[in-house]
C-alpha cells in the first residue's frame, strides 16, 4: 500500500475521532450547557468557513 494512503487513512481516523468526540459532547450536555456549546460551535463554524474561503 502507498505510504501516502496510510497517512491519509490515519488522518481520516483522527478526524473521525474528533467528530465523534464533538457529537458525544453535544449528546451528553444538559439543556443549560447547550447555549455555551452553541456559541462555541458557531465561532468554530465561522472560522472554518473563513478558512475555506481563504483557500485558493
Amino acid at each position: 500500500m502507498n505510504i501516502a494512503v496510510v497517512f491519509a487513512i490515519l488522518d481520516l481516523v483522527d478526524r473521525g475521532l474528533d467528530l465523534a468526540e464533538g457529537i458525544g459532547r453535544i449528546l451528553r450536555a444538559t439543556d443549560a450547557e447547550l447555549a455555551a456549546i452553541r456559541d462555541e460551535v458557531t465561532a468554530r463554524l465561522e472560522a472554518a468557513v473563513d478558512r475555506m474561503e481563504a483557500q485558493e
Partner: protein, 144 residues
C-alpha cells in the same frame, strides 16, 4: 478522589474544544481525504434536511449542533485536502459552492431556532437544498 474525578469530567465536557484546523500541513497529496470529506459534507446536508423542519426545542438544537460539527469536520478536511493538492480546480469550485449553500441552510436553520418558529416546510431551506442536490449530482457525476 471520586468527587475530584467527577468535577474533572463536568469541567472537561463544557470546555471549548481546541481548534485543530490548519495543523495538518503534512497531509500527503491523495484524493482519498477529499473524497471522504466531501462525503461528510453530503452527510451534513442530509442532517440539515432531516432536522431543519423539526419543532424548535432542545433536541432540535442538538441536531443543529451535530450538523454543524459535521459541517466543520467536512470543511476542515476539504480545505486541508485542497491545500495538499488533492482536489482539482473544477472540483474545488463545485465543493465551495456546495459548502456555501450548506452554510446558508445552517444559518436559516439557526434563525428558525432563534425565533422559535416551527415551519414544517421552510421554503428557504428547501430552495437551498434543491440547489445542493443539483451540485452534488454534478460533483459525483464527474467521478469515474
Amino acid at each position: 478522589m471520586l468527587s475530584h474525578r467527577t468535577n474533572q469530567y463536568n469541567t472537561s465536557r463544557t470546555m471549548p474544544r481546541p481548534a485543530k484546523a490548519g495543523r495538518r500541513q503534512f497531509l500527503p497529496r491523495t484524493r482519498l481525504s477529499g473524497h471522504v470529506a466531501s462525503t461528510l459534507l453530503l452527510l451534513a446536508g442530509f442532517l440539515i434536511l432531516n432536522g431543519c423542519a423539526s419543532n424548535p426545542n432542545a433536541e432540535a438544537t442538538r441536531a443543529y449542533l451535530i450538523a454543524s460539527e459535521t459541517y466543520i469536520a467536512a470543511s476542515d478536511g476539504l480545505t486541508d485536502a485542497r491545500a495538499a493538492g488533492g482536489i482539482g480546480n473544477d472540483e474545488w469550485a463545485d465543493i465551495r459552492e456546495t459548502a456555501r449553500a450548506l452554510k446558508k441552510a445552517l444559518d436559516t436553520w439557526k434563525g428558525l431556532l432563534d425565533t422559535g418558529t416551527y415551519t414544517p416546510e421552510p421554503r428557504e431551506v428547501t430552495a437551498v437544498l434543491r440547489d445542493l442536490v443539483t451540485i452534488y449530482v454534478r460533483i459525483y457525476g464527474r467521478q469515474p
